[in-house]
Amino acid sequence: MEYFLSLCTTGLIMGVIYALMALGLTLIFSILGVINFAHGEFYMLGGYASYFILSTFTGLHPLLAVPLAGLIAAVIGLVFELAFLRPIHQERIERPAEYAILITFGLSFFLMNLALAVFGPYPHSPPSFFRGSVRLGFMNVSADRLTASVLSLILLAVLLVVVNRTWVGKALRAVSQDKQAAAVVGINPLAMNTIAFALGVGLAAMAGALLASSFLLSPDVGAVPSIRSYVIIVLGGMGSIQGSILGGVLIGLVESLAAGYFPDPSRALNYKTAFGLVIFALVLLFRPRGFFGRKEA
């Protein structure tokens, strides 16, 4: 029983962080209608930004670098959205769907190679939030990972409040439901696009900064989280915030339990991701829109 509970704890801790990462992607998709293929690279950028900030300002507590990393990524995202994505919504691009894929892929390669050029190929890590492990009843949990999980929960809660209770949040939801109707009531859809993109990549960067001391940094560190995020947002329902949270936690739990209980231990870790995909396929089979996906009008 202790073993089962320890695996569940590991899965839940990871699931919450996965949810935070996926949330940014779903936010961007629901508002802009664009799949951000550079999402993993913003995660990586957040980690490196945190590393850079803490290397430069050595007296700073590592926790303070998290919002700063999010802010840096949000500014970069804002500039990118204004320069490269806004033309899509101004109907200045002939083939917007293909353009969006290519431009975000391009950004992905650019950011990855930029990190390689600036920070080099060797792994790095910002200082730990808190060193060592914490004893949670029957198991040791990394203090860094626990901190990342708790902060992710707080960020998720703050985001839900912003989206549901503030004017900007309501405006974002309105744009995601119907751009024209939102415009009629005085909401500027283009401004909301920019806000959503900056916020989305900022969340990815904060997830990256939160996990950098646990999962470390290298230029290609964003690849796996970004693929997992795509799975989570489809699982939860494209564009659904609640769905992303539920999807993230579910994937975290499935990965952990599968690695812990798969009959052949030699394959257990290798198939960890595949089990997430099996759940993904099963959910889509019985509920093609995902957990909270909206019906097409």
Partner: protein, 452 residues
């Protein structure tokens, strides 16, 4: 009217291009009937390649190097993901450094040597394409480098097809040299030799229950299978292999599973960032290194970034080091280490040493051969004796001295005394130079194993 002008312009460009191409020194291949392609030069060497559908492609290999101002050398290795680009970049740096030194000293055969380095991304298909391009398009006279065994095994087929000599720097698969290709030489250890050092070390410590979490690549699988076989021969049969994608972020669930029945030794055979992740996560979980469970990490632990990424968890870990520990450095090693660090701002690892020596071997062979002809280079390599940063280098077995039937086939064109050691970090923040050499015992600088 405008369209007509554009059409005229395009036609003019097309005609001029055709004229330039026709007058140029290297005619473009002409397709004759079905799939017969012929390149014509004054001196023509013809190679026939019969494809599956009985198409015959005839190409001509010109001999531009005979009158070229420079000698072109090809390099290959992973410079980007998914390959182990840390190793690839280090390899390229060391090769460039060797070339610059040789050029400053007057070059080879009185000519400057140039390097064209291809990024294989750690992918076998890219390795094939890169080698094909280096040989047929760039016209390199010889090749060096490569990190991944799986990629090297495809590259060597291309090199063998064209008869171009290769000195491999880092791939370990036995088959790289076991195939007995005349063009293929290697300074890295074979996997059998490499694995035997760790196997003997495990046996010497009396550890009986062993678990390896090994990356699911040719690198990890070859090592894992080698250990199971060699440890079995040493009477250690409780050996478990767990495969993992090298990009795995979180090993915790499988480590929790292993912790249900902790082994005497846990090995994390994951390259790059995965090495540090494993060390850290096993340590944070309280699994290893502990008094009960020793921890074996990969060669990537030699880099200074290891301590930045694992912190205190790195203490008491041990790893196999392919290279020369400081206690065994010669004058060349000292100069190389100092120059590399000054030039690239990084302490070089064993990969850099191997790549540097592989480059020197190749270029010294060309100088000694007095020619860039493949046969002459191969003959010179077979008879070479060179003091490199790794020590005395030579190839015991080859066409000049065939591998005896009682010796393993991988000894063909293989440097037989590659430096493979087990090092242990006994203190936090130790550099690789300060780490204790714990095995082989006769060259050890510290006790066999220091337990937490």
């Amino acid at each position: 009217m405008k369209d007509k002008r554009i059409f005229s312009l395009l036609m003019t460009i097309l005609i001029l291009s055709s004229l330039i191409a026709a007058c140029g020194p290297t005619p473009t291949p002409q397709v004759i009937k079905e799939t017969v392609v012929v390149e014509v030069e004054k001196e023509v060497e013809v190679t026939k390649v019969v494809e599956k559908e009985k198409e015959v492609v005839v190409t001509a290999t010109p001999e531009p190097e005979a009158e070229a101002e420079t000698i072109l050398i090809g390099g290959f290795g992973p410079l980007s993901a998914p390959g182990a680009y840390q190793g690839g970049i280090e390899m390229r740096n060391a090769t460039e450094m060797a070339l610059d030194e040789i050029n400053e000293a007057g070059g080879v055969l009185g000519k400057e040597v140039e390097l064209i380095f291809g990024d294989t991304e750690g992918l076998p298909e890219r390795g094939t394409a890169v080698t094909e391009r280096l040989i047929t398009q760039n016209k390199v006279v010889a090749l060096t480098g490569e990190y991944h065994s799986g990629v090297a095994l495809t590259e060597m087929e291309v090199a063998h097809k064209y008869g171009v000599p290769v000195v491999f720097a880092e791939p370990w698969a036995d088959d790289v040299t076991a195939k007995g290709y005349p063009e293929i030489f290697r300074v890295a250890p074979s996997i059998e030799f490499y694995s035997s050092i760790a196997s003997n070390y495990i046996a010497a410590n009396g550890w009986e229950k062993i678990v390896f979490v090994t990356e699911d690549t040719d690198y990890g699988r070859l090592q894992g299978e080698g250990w199971v076989k060699q440890l079995g021969a040493l009477g250690i049969t409780d050996v478990e292999l767990i495969y993992a994608d090298p990009a795995t972020e979180d090993f915790t669930p499988i480590l929790q599973r292993i912790a249900q029945d902790p082994p005497d030794m846990l090995g994390g055979v994951i390259t790059g960032i995965g090495n540090s992740r494993m060390v850290r996560q096993a340590c944070e979980l309280g699994l290893a290194p502990t008094a009960e469970t020793a921890y074996y990490a990969t060669t990537d632990s030699q880099y200074p970034e290891f301590w930045e990424t694992v912190g205190d968890c790195g203490q008491y870990t041990f790893f196999t080091y392919v290279g020369l520990p400081k206690s065994l450095w010669n004058e060349k090693t000292e100069a190389f280490m100092a120059n590399y660090e000054e030039r690239y701002g990084q302490v070089p690892g064993g990969v850099a040493m191997e790549a540097y020596d592989a480059t020197y071997l190749l270029l010294t062979a060309i100088e000694q051969a007095g020619s860039t002809e493949p046969e002459a280079i191969i003959e010179a390599l077979e008879n070479i004796e060179l003091t490199g940063v790794l020590g005395e280098l030579w190839f015991e077995y080859g066409s000049h001295n065939p591998v005896p039937s009682d010796k393993p086939a991988w000894m063909w064109h293989q440097w037989l005394t590659p430096n493979v050691f087990i090092l242990q970090y006994t203190e936090v923040d130790q550099s690789v130079d300060e780490a204790a050499v714990v095995f082989p015992v006769e060259r050890a600088t510290g006790p066999l194993y220091t337990s937490p």
